[in-house]
Symmetry: C2
Subunit: 339 residues, 2 copies
């Protein structure tokens, strides 16, 4: 490392001919409060600017036991939804003088543990987590030391505060309309059965069928993981089994849909009359020959709410609501749905 001597508060103090504490007061904008003379204040401020003084975050954090840092734990940053969330949060944080530390877990519990530990070691003031864990025990323990907010998913029936997308009703609404035309065959392809988005979206699927007066056959529900390759595999197997693509299909997330589309494309089925619908939206869906009905999440609102919630907790302000469900928007594209 190149060694250029850092300008410290002592340097500024010495140059200004005052003590460190006076300089500190001025530089933290508390000169009025402590009745520092305008003259001294201006001198210190001028020097600081001129010398491009940058306070050391580490010294400050060490002293104040606050790092002005938040941790964000996501399964996968290349997932567009999480990318948007990260960007929004990063922006909110920067405006608030906070640094966001982002960690990816690759949907893997042990990697998640390591990532979280390294964040804690860095003394984040709070944690925003889309967890891949099956139990919230670890986070309960952590929550005794620093606030934790769940977003995008709940671990089990954890009582930790949360901000998630409302899924059950919107999926039910989507599915109901389609089920009326496809009462004989309507498949569900989902990710890990235990995590909450899968559970909620399945619950919504079943509720939608019920509302359409359709009985959900057990073989209609297929689980795997959220990886595109899993979507591809599940769909390939289904097609093999049926000897053709299904008549109607709901995929529980964009990754799964990606797998399904890859398969359809490879097998020249993009013009088949499969009625496809999915959670998560993408602008290119408007351009596909296959008209997919989708449920779009409101990532900006998810980010905003998560941020407000975690900062309130960090500052020990009361929480108006510790469980927030963010509404979605349905994009109807299929001609049958629009009819």
């Amino acid at each position: 490392m190149k060694q250029t001597k850092r300008i410290t508060i002592s340097d500024i103090a010495r140059l200004a001919g005052v003590s460190k504490s006076t300089a500190s007061l001025v530089l933290n904008g508390r000169s009025k409060e402590f009745r520092v003379s305008d003259d001294t204040r201006d001198r210190v401020l001028a020097l600081a600017q001129q010398q491009r003084y940058q306070p050391s975050i580490h010294a400050r954090s060490l002293r104040s036991r606050r790092s002005n840092t938040l941790g964000l734990v996501v399964p996968e940053m290349t997932n567009y939804g999480f990318a948007v969330i990260s960007r929004e949060l990063e922006c909110l944080c920067r405006e608030a003088g906070i640094q966001l530390l982002i960690a990816c877990t690759d949907e893997n519990a042990s990697q998640e543990m390591m990532a979280v530990n390294s964040l804690i070691q860095r003394q984040v003031d709070g944690l925003i987590v889309a967890s891949s864990m099956l139990s919230d025990a670890e986070y309960q323990k952590i929550n005794q030391q620093l606030p934790v907010v769940q977003f995008d998913r709940v671990i089990g029936d954890s009582d930790l505060p949360l901000v998630i997308t409302e899924s059950v009703e919107s999926t039910a609404t989507l599915v109901e309309r389609i089920a009326r035309r496809h009462s004989d065959e309507f498949y569900f392809i989902g990710g890990q059965a235990r995590i909450s988005p899968t559970r909620d979206r399945l619950a919504g699927f079943q509720l939608g069928l019920e509302r359409a007066g359709v009985e959900c056959r057990t073989e209609w529900v297929i689980h795997g993981s959220y990886h595109p390759s899993a979507g591809y595999e599940m769909f390939a197997q289904l097609c093999a089994q049926l000897g053709r693509p299904p008549k109607a299909l709901f995929t529980a997330a964009c990754g799964l849909l990606e797998g399904v589309l890859r398969y359809l494309n490879q097998h020249d089925l993009l013009n088949s009359n499969l009625h496809l619908c999915s959670f998560d939206d993408h602008y290119l869906f408007d351009c596909l020959p296959l008209k997919i009905d989708t449920i779009a999440q409101d990532c900006e609102t998810l980010a905003r709410n998560s941020f407000d919630m975690i900062t309130a907790l960090v500052d020990e302000r009361p929480l108006p609501d510790s469980r927030i469900y963010v509404p979605t928007r349905i994009h109807w594209r299929h001609p049958d749905s629009l009819a």
Copy 2:
């Protein structure tokens, strides 16, 4: 903030009945080197584990003047390429015990300056930057204090080390083949004319035309920004002017292509016989009725190389090569191109 007393090295030392220095040696795995007795070592280690001792990063950074932290500056995290880069870098960093700090600039020079300053204030050991600046003056100054690596784009003709995608040759190859069939009309839609990806891709475009024996008319080259809305606008205006879509078009990045596709979709032109080609790839392009020829960047390699380069610089190891150009892959999709 909840106040749970932190376990410090002093606590461990006291409990083990040794001094802080001994504990420190042991905990840093330097007990052999300093001939600490096996007995003391085991005692300290056991205690640390049992008490879940976590060294304070801030105290350590304050002391060592090293933060074990790298800064990544990207224009826009929702751009898939940058998302992949971020994920890869984050992963490489975590494996190396480094924390990656990501900052988004929204393609905006003043926001970039603020973001960089806040990273420096946090004492990052090095900076990996996809800059939106027009001059590298600031970074040259910064580079005197800590290493800076440019990636994805060069600022002007900056001599700072860099890792970028090879663009000129690949664009030329792509364009040449298409220009042979469209010598009468082949448009270029690019982002800000001054930044290097635009320059290089335009150079490649012109080189491709030249190789195909086609003269580049000045009205073929259109510049704007990389935002999808800019792509939409430029394309809309072009169509208005021609009274129809152009016969052949190259878009310089995925954001611009997004804008063009939105327009085509809205105006029911996805089945027109426009020959579209672009820098940047997306899996959904395989599924579109419009067959787009694209150049795919190798984000993993970009990330890997940037990481290797910055860590070498931080550790003051010699750099085998301070200018790396990562090769691309062309995806031919249009029937004419495949013929």
